[in-house]
């Protein structure tokens, strides 16, 4: 009985198998294809919609009745600012004060943020590399550069502290000690404001960081803190990113308080920006007493200390 079924039903079984499997795989591929096409179509539509709104900044400040016509401001900033969580309170406050704007944040390295400004893909920049910022404005890419706030960098590392830098108040000396001990140090290596700060400190320490102990990740602050924690290595971080990510990290603050570790932020409206009015309004607001108060408050509730010190004007 069983034999007979095997014998005679074989080709029919193969047919069924064919019908069963091929269409399934084909179906998945087709579905994936359709989804992709659909996604592209939708993105295209949304993209068009956005360009339509951003190209009408002139009308954006005029309110017609109860309806407020919104326009987008593209704010290019840095990953460390994003990771600090400041935007989560700063932008809602700004949008409450200026309901005609929606701020879209692009968090990049300082290098990319400046490039976005140069290409006019961003309307306003909030970055922390004063020398590059001044050059950016001097080259005519930005209308002006206003100081906004500062925070500080810290050198963090494992509790073991193999290079013995805990408690040092001279950041350059601490880095020197790390290089002498050839303890693992993870660098941002991404041309960001933090990376530039780090390179400045190595220079001050008279050390050319090179060798297997000096790893370069080319990633954002959060990623580099995670890598350092995993490898129990040293790194330079801004305090805000560190405090925000503290819970998942196995790292301690070892060096802090050196003047050389202060980190100045500046805001730059981009010349001939798509939303020039929005960029100017944002820069004016963030340096106004109202904006500065939001900055001064940030972090007090969550960390018991402010993460940024406002110093505009």
């Amino acid at each position: 009985m069983a034999n007979q079924r095997k014998g005679s039903g074989m080709s029919a079984g193969t047919e069924r198998a064919l019908d069963g499997i091929e269409p399934k795989v084909m179906g998945v591929l087709l579905r994936a294809g359709f989804t992709a096409i659909l996604a592209v179509a939708i993105l295209g539509l949304v993209g068009c919609g956005e360009t339509a709104t951003t190209t009408t900044p002139e009308n954006s400040t005029t309110t017609t009745g109860a309806q407020v016509e919104k326009s987008d401001i593209v704010l290019a900033s840095t990953t460390s600012t994003q990771d600090s969580g400041l935007f989560d309170v700063l932008l809602p406050a700004f949008e409450a004060a200026y309901p005609q704007y929606t701020v879209k944040v692009v968090a990049a390295g300082t290098g990319e943020a400046l490039k976005l400004g140069e290409n006019k893909d961003a309307d306003v920049l909030l970055v922390h590399a004063p020398a590059s910022e001044k050059e950016f404005v001097a080259n005519g890419f930005g209308t002006e550069r206003l100081e906004v706030m500062y925070n500080d960098f810290i050198i963090v590392g494992s509790a073991d502290d193999p290079a013995g830098i805990r408690g040092m108040t001279d950041a350059a000396r601490a880095l020197k000690a790390i290089s002498v001990a050839e303890s693992l140090f993870v660098s941002r290596g991404d041309d960001s404001g933090t990376h530039k700060k780090e390179l400045g400190l190595w220079k001050a320490a008279g050390v050319e960081p090179d060798g297997a102990w000096y790893e370069s990740a080319g990633q954002g602050m959060g990623d580099v803190l995670a890598i350092s924690s995993e490898k129990q290595a040293y790194t330079l971080s801004d305090r805000a990113s560190y405090l925000n990510l503290l819970e998942g990290l196995d790292l301690e603050v070892l060096v802090e308080g050196d003047k050389a570790l202060f980190n100045q932020y500046g805001v730059i409206p981009v010349t001939d920006a798509t939303n020039a009015a929005g960029a100017a309004d944002f820069a004016a607001w963030i340096t106004s007493p109202e904006g500065q108060a939001v900055i001064a408050d940030y972090g007090v509730e969550k960390f018991g200390q402010p993460l940024f010190v406002p110093n505009a004007g």
Binding site: V25, G111, D210, E230
Partner: protein
């Protein structure tokens, strides 16, 4: 348009100057993705043949799982592998995070479903008579399976190409478990895709695009080579 001509020039310059850094990054890309596909083949080929040739209760669920695997988001796989091998994870004692091995593990997870799914559909479409005939002619069970593999070799090659294409171009998983690290001029875990992300973040759009072109050229060369193996009666190792 200028950026494209500049990028092409930059790509040619980088390759033609035998830039050590670029070749190290290219080499690691090939090594990691190549190993992942080979391991994926070792897992996916038998698995696909089993799923394609046998009928049993619960097979439908397994087939659906494999097909779902075709849509695994690399970044989720990266996150999963990272949590497993992190110092605080269950496999933390192996110290694998931020090593090429971790990148291979993540990419094996991504490549295997491609190889399994395509193998499954390929062997399933081979008439069952082929196998029975082989057995009838005195082949052992294993030899009969080899006959099926031989019949399905073109599709299996397609499976390898699809798997390789999927992993050489992904960035989410390798960024997360590799860390894009170089140290003291030596590349540790930086591959082409993560280098592209880094260069773009730094505002070096031409270099990023140049790396993209190198990646495309490399993927094309690899796929072209595999296709030649697949097609050629004389051009390939895969003889009928």
């Amino acid at each position: 348009m200028e950026i494209f001509t500049q990028s092409i020039a930059e790509a040619i310059r980088l390759v033609a100057s035998f830039d050590r850094y670029v070749f190290q990054v290219m080499g690691l890309s090939l090594k990691v993705s190549g190993s992942a596909v080979l391991i994926g083949l070792v897992i996916g080929l038998p698995l696909g043949m089993w799923l394609g040739l046998s009928r049993f209760r619960g097979r439908g669920i397994l087939v659906a799982l494999v097909n779902t695997g075709l849509g695994l988001p690399p970044v989720v796989v990266g996150l999963f592998v990272m949590m497993m091998i992190s110092r605080k994870g269950p496999l933390g004692f192996l110290s694998l995070l931020y090593t090429p091995s971790a990148m291979v593990i993540a990419q094996v997870i991504l490549a295997t479903p491609y190889i399994t799914a395509i193998t499954m559909s390929a062997v399933g479409s081979i008439p069952r008579e082929v196998r029975l005939q082989a057995v009838g002619l005195g082949a052992s069970r294993f030899q009969a399976l080899m006959v099926v593999v031989k019949e399905a070799r073109l599709s299996i090659m397609t499976a390898v190409i699809a798997g390789f294409g999927a992993v050489i171009s992904e960035v989410g998983a390798v960024m997360m478990v590799g860390g894009n690290i170089s140290a003291g001029g030596e590349n540790k875990t930086r591959v082409l895709t993560t280098a592209i992300v880094q260069e773009a973040r730094m505002g070096h759009f031409e270099t990023a695009m140049a790396f993209g072109l190198i990646l495309l050229a490399m993927a094309f060369a690899a796929v072209f080579l595999l296709s030649r193996l697949q097609e050629g009666p004389r051009g390939g190792w895969v003889k009928s």
